[in-house]
């Protein structure tokens, strides 16, 4: 009797294993067939690395992909989201993406190390970065930051706060306490830090959505304080630029079209992006819509309107380089003429 049970259970195991193997085989064949279908179209493939997770900050790219603008230009675009520990500049240098959305200021240290990276289109025309303090902390003017705890996002986002600190005649390593800030505002609200980094399209609104008033905060706008650097821009390696001009022009054309659509319809853009909001999470959706509207303002600022989206203003680029060279010891010997090209943009908007 016992032997019988043992035998039947052995048979059961063998049966289960066979079923699993068949299922795996079928799945494999199925995906193979699907992939073949796709590759028949013979599109140019291109990978875009985002600066951060998929959110309204990148709505133009996501919308253009969703509406098939890239396919219309015969590009099979893969969009890689960013995240904690992912520096788009690293991904670009490693060759895992051909185009990266990176903050222009933050690419400069890598260029100083001899990397040949080129800005082919400037998305955000004005710095979005703010340093925020609670009014109750007693901080009123920039000089008051001496000896304070200042939150920055490490890993390539700290150039503007560093420049701002040094502009007050302070040494960032000695006269203030630099804190590795989380990607929210809780440390500021819990008074663990005195000043927090915030972008006008994202973190700035988190405390306000949580019930604080805009009047509760003292806000230092990096742009107004003279420490502003250009942010979200499209960067490529020079080798890739030299060999794939046509592909990049088509990419740029589809990208601009996507951004124009998203800027005109921010609410629709948020829904098109296909973000996974947990059920009925109105706050999260509203936050994305706010982000879409604020991002739109930054893309349309200054030359974004007069010249067009993704235009590179050389004066502003030079200002970014000058501030970085003056205040950030890691940025040096930047040759302005080598770090950008307008040729892709000009051909795309023709």
């Amino acid at each position: 009797m016992e032997e019988n049970t043992q035998k039947s259970s052995q048979g059961l195991i063998v049966g289960v294993v066979i079923v699993i193997l068949i299922a795996i085989g079928a799945y494999y064949l199925f995906t193979q067939v699907l992939n073949k279908d796709e590759s028949k179209k013979q599109m140019d493939s291109l990978t875009l690395q985002l600066k951060w997770v998929e959110q309204a900050q990148f709505m133009g790219f996501l919308v253009a992909k969703e509406l098939g603008y890239y396919e219309d230009e015969n590009i099979d675009l893969e969009i890689l989201p960013g995240g904690v520990g992912i520096n788009p500049v690293d991904v670009l240098i490693a060759g895992d993406a051909q185009v990266a959305v990176a903050w222009t200021g933050n690419v400069l240290p890598a260029i100083s190390q001899g990397e040949d990276l080129v800005n082919i289109g400037q998305g955000v025309q004005r710095s979005a970065l703010r340093l925020m303090a609670l009014k109750s902390s007693g901080i009123e003017k920039p000089e008051d930051i001496a000896g304070k705890k200042i939150g920055t996002w490490l890993g390539g986002n700290e150039l503007e706060p560093y420049a701002f600190i040094e502009m007050q005649g302070l040494d960032k390593d000695r006269d203030v306490v630099l804190v590795n800030q989380n990607f929210d505002m809780n440390q500021l609200l819990n008074k663990e830090i005195d000043l927090a980094s915030a972008t006008i399209y994202n973190e700035y609104w988190l405390p306000i959505e949580a019930g604080y008033s805009e009047d509760d905060f003292v806000v230092f706008d990096m742009e107004e304080e003279g420490a502003g650097m250009l942010q979200d821009a499209l960067f490529v390696q020079r080798d890739f630029l030299d060999n794939n001009e046509d592909l990049l022009v088509r990419f740029m054309r589809a990208t601009i079209k996507g951004w124009e659509y998203a800027i005109a319809n921010p609410q629709e853009a948020v829904d098109l992006m296909g973000l996974d909001f947990t059920q009925n999470d109105v706050t999260a959706r509203d936050h994305q819509i706010t982000m879409a509207k604020e991002t739109a303002k930054l893309y349309q600022a200054d030359d974004g309107t007069t010249e067009g989206l993704f235009f590179i203003n050389t004066d502003k680029l030079a200002q970014t380089v000058d501030i970085a060279t003056e205040y950030i010891s890691e940025v040096k010997d930047i040759d302005m003429s080598k770090i950008y090209t307008l040729s892709i943009w000009e051909k795309a908007v023709q």
Partner: protein, 253 residues
């Protein structure tokens, strides 16, 4: 001379192989072009270590002040808990399950959870390190204490020995070699835990320093930071090994 060589053969061999490795590294980078983003020359790293010794040692000391208390508390608690619980099977089983549960949480998630409760200050790092160190020490001590040879126990009981005597005269001396070994290995775990948890927020420390310099592509300082951690790890490990040899002379290596 020959005798000196014999006694210090081990040290000489390891030091010379390390030097050879560094020389080869330097030569390799001189011959082949390797992007600075990937690897830089050891001579540059060493020069940076000397030039920026003040900043580097300040940050390293901050991290050390997380590592050593965390490691000490974790090890001590692990041993104490095992000693308290080894005779109560039900209690110890329940406790083992709980500690397995805590240790199954990935470090990143644990950092986030504890950071949410108590902020990202130094105490959080100390708690994290002690939590991570606690588990292996506790499990090893417990299994050592419960795996006593029944013959030894019976013999002692026949002499009407008290449980206290059995613990201090048989169980602990027998457990010490394995116990000190796991405490020694935990040094490395403690360093790793402290540095990694710093990546996710904090007010200072070599982990944050490396992360910030990496973002700025200040690669000399990144490598110098890594070098400092390696040097500290080596010193820490061999100090504990030295103490272990003093404490447990009957230890077979």
């Amino acid at each position: 001379m020959k005798r000196v060589f014999k006694t210090y053969k081990y040290v000489l061999l390891s030091v010379s192989s390390l030097i050879l490795f560094i020389i080869l590294w330097e030569i390799f980078l001189n011959i082949f072009h390797v992007s600075r983003i990937v690897l830089i020359k050891p001579s540059e790293i060493l020069a940076t270590c000397i030039r920026d010794f003040d900043i580097l040692s300040k940050e390293m000391l901050y991290t050390v002040s997380e590592i050593i208390p965390g490691w000490f508390i974790g090890s001590l608690m692990g041993i104490l808990c095992a000693v308290i619980m080894y005779r109560n099977e039900k209690l110890s089983k329940g406790f083992v399950t709980t500690s397995v549960l805590i240790n199954a949480i990935p470090l990143i998630a644990l950092t986030a959870i504890i950071g949410g409760i108590m902020g990202t200050n130094r105490d959080q790092k100390i708690l994290l390190v002690s939590l991570i160190v606690f588990f292996p020490v506790f499990i090893t001590t417990l299994s050592q204490l419960t795996s006593i040879d029944q013959g030894h126990k019976d013999l002692l009981l026949s002499y009407s020995a008290k449980p206290k005597d059995i613990l201090f005269k048989v169980l602990l001396p027998k457990s010490l070699p394995a116990l000190t070994n796991i405490v020694k290995v935990s040094c490395i775990t403690a360093i790793f835990t402290a540095v990694t948890s710093e990546f996710f927020g904090g007010y200072g420390g070599i982990g944050i320093f490396i992360l910030s310099k990496k973002g700025l592509y200040n690669l000399e300082l990144v490598w110098a930071g890594i070098f400092f951690i390696a040097v500290f790890g080596t010193i820490f490990y061999f100090t504990v090994e030295f103490l272990q040899k003093k404490l447990v002379p009957w230890q077979e290596s």
